[in-house]
């Protein structure tokens, strides 16, 4: 156990030595790629859109043709964006270049609108591209930038083709749903998928089936809180059966993971971090273990805290 704990503790110390070097190298490479990728609206246009939108072939609205573009613009930018990303009539999805990011498409559309005399887009096409690019530039170029090793929010929930585990050369990858689109209407959280799944279910933002075939079957809810007193100075743990039975069946946890008997289960954070007990789901799929207070939620009375002190 001691070695486990020291290995849990040591990496943090060690971060200060190794991670900056390795990560800086990684950041440097990432930056080169992204900077080349992002570009301004004009750059994106020159690579992906110019083929049709310069000449107006296949009824594509021509760059510089105000009449052509204002007709499209009346549908709203969002519609244009959706058409450009998903494809519409003769327009292939992302101009036939699936590696382009949604944000770049947006910047390119604004560039084309602005260049076609729709002056309200004149600024935004450029500023957007600057922030998209400049944000990253600031983060990696300034040595003392704030939270320099943390991911910025535009690096969360990337589409499958950019997430590093899907193969962008595989055609199917580009047909998969993008997490950001799916999560748009869901309650957000600060960790995991950046979605508060419990809240999303509670407020009917999602309605996942409880039965494979029948969407009318309702879950069997058990509303019983179990309070576990913890030895250290952390607040006690309140385990709510209610939220768990919303998702799971009793047999998922009992008796293999938790013996359904008071005092029969030894639970430790070390075990949880290694994937045992609560860690079978928490830290993998259910909210991560960094959310200490979502479980350790019952403040101890002063007396109890005093009693548990000597054991430390």
């Amino acid at each position: 156990m001691k070695s486990q704990i020291s290995s849990l503790v040591c990496p943090a110390r060690n971060k200060s030595n190794t991670i900056p070097v390795v990560l800086l190298a990684l950041l440097a490479t990432t930056y080169v790629v992204t900077a080349a990728d992002m570009g301004s609206g004009k750059q994106v246009y020159d690579t992906a859109c110019v083929g049709c939108h310069a000449s107006g072939v296949l009824k594509a609205p021509k760059l510089g043709d105000k009449q052509d573009w204002s007709k499209r613009e009346q549908q709203g930018l969002q519609v244009l964006l959706t058409h450009a990303i998903k494809g519409f009539k003769n327009m292939p999805a992302k101009g036939g270049n699936p590696t382009i990011k949604d944000k770049e498409i947006e910047v390119a559309i604004k560039y084309m609108l602005a260049s076609s005399g729709l002056s309200q887009y004149a600024q935004s096409g450029q500023t957007e591209s600057k922030t998209a690019q400049g944000g990253k530039e600031d983060r990696s170029s300034s040595v003392n930038s704030f939270n320099r090793l943390m991911k910025s929010s535009d690096e969360w929930n990337l589409p499958p083709s950019e997430d590093g585990i899907h193969d962008p050369d595989n055609g199917g990858t580009h047909m998969l749903q993008k997490p950001k689109q799916a999560f748009e209407t869901l309650s957000s959280s600060k960790s995991g998928n950046r979605v508060d799944w419990g809240k999303a279910l509670e407020s009917n933002e999602i309605s996942p089936r409880y039965d494979r075939l029948d969407d009318q079957v309702k879950p069997i809810i058990m509303d019983l809180n179990i309070v576990r007193e913890v030895k250290g100075s952390m607040p006690d743990v309140v385990y709510p059966h209610k939220q768990h039975t919303e998702w799971l069946d009793c047999s998922n946890c009992h008796p293999a993971i938790f013996i359904p008997q008071k005092g029969a289960n030894q639970i430790s954070m070390a075990g949880i971090l290694l994937g045992q007990k609560c860690g079978v789901c928490h830290g993998k799929v259910a909210f991560p273990v960094s959310e200490c207070r979502r479980c350790h939620s019952k403040q101890k009375t002063l007396k109890t805290a005093g009693k548990s002190e000597p054991t430390n």
């Binding site: 040591c10 990496p11 190794t18 990858t173 089936r209 039965d211 494979r212 290694l274 799929v285």
Partner: protein, 136 residues
């Protein structure tokens, strides 16, 4: 302490190289490469987030018998075609059928079986003990 730091330095470099810390995968994405690459296919990516929007955990993990262990179910295409595991839904009735190979076999070649962003995998990656992080 110096020894601990040296070992951890090595582990961290291996961990970074093995990439769980640097991918932008979604939390809970399961990559399965038990048999895929050996059979000339890309590994499978199972997106937990996509499925939990549509089904509660119970459907797969109680009714269909999926164990809480990445790669621990020994799933192969025969079982799927027979309606087991993924095949209980991916049969053209509940969800699209098995002929859409490239919608599941989407992983980057060479990736090991793991739950992405898993605390256990982060702590143990590179040490070759990732099996210990399994359910029971």
């Amino acid at each position: 302490m110096l020894k601990c730091r040296t070992i951890n330095t090595i582990l961290f470099i291996i961990a970074l190289w093995a990439s769980p810390l640097v991918t932008n995968a979604e939390y809970g994405d399961v990559l399965m490469n038990n048999y895929s690459e050996a059979a000339g296919m890309r590994p499978v990516v199972f997106p937990h987030w996509f499925h939990r929007i549509r089904f509660r955990c119970k459907v797969c993990h109680a009714d269909l018998g999926f164990k809480f262990e990445a790669g621990g179910n020994e799933i192969n295409m025969l079982k799927i075609i027979d309606g087991e595991y993924c095949g209980a839904c991916h049969n053209g009735e509940v969800a699209w059928a098995v002929e859409n190979c490239d919608l599941c076999h989407t992983g980057k070649p060479g990736e090991p079986t793991q739950v992405h962003k898993s605390t256990t995998f982060k702590l143990q990656s590179g040490s070759g003990k990732k099996k210990a992080g399994s359910a029971q």
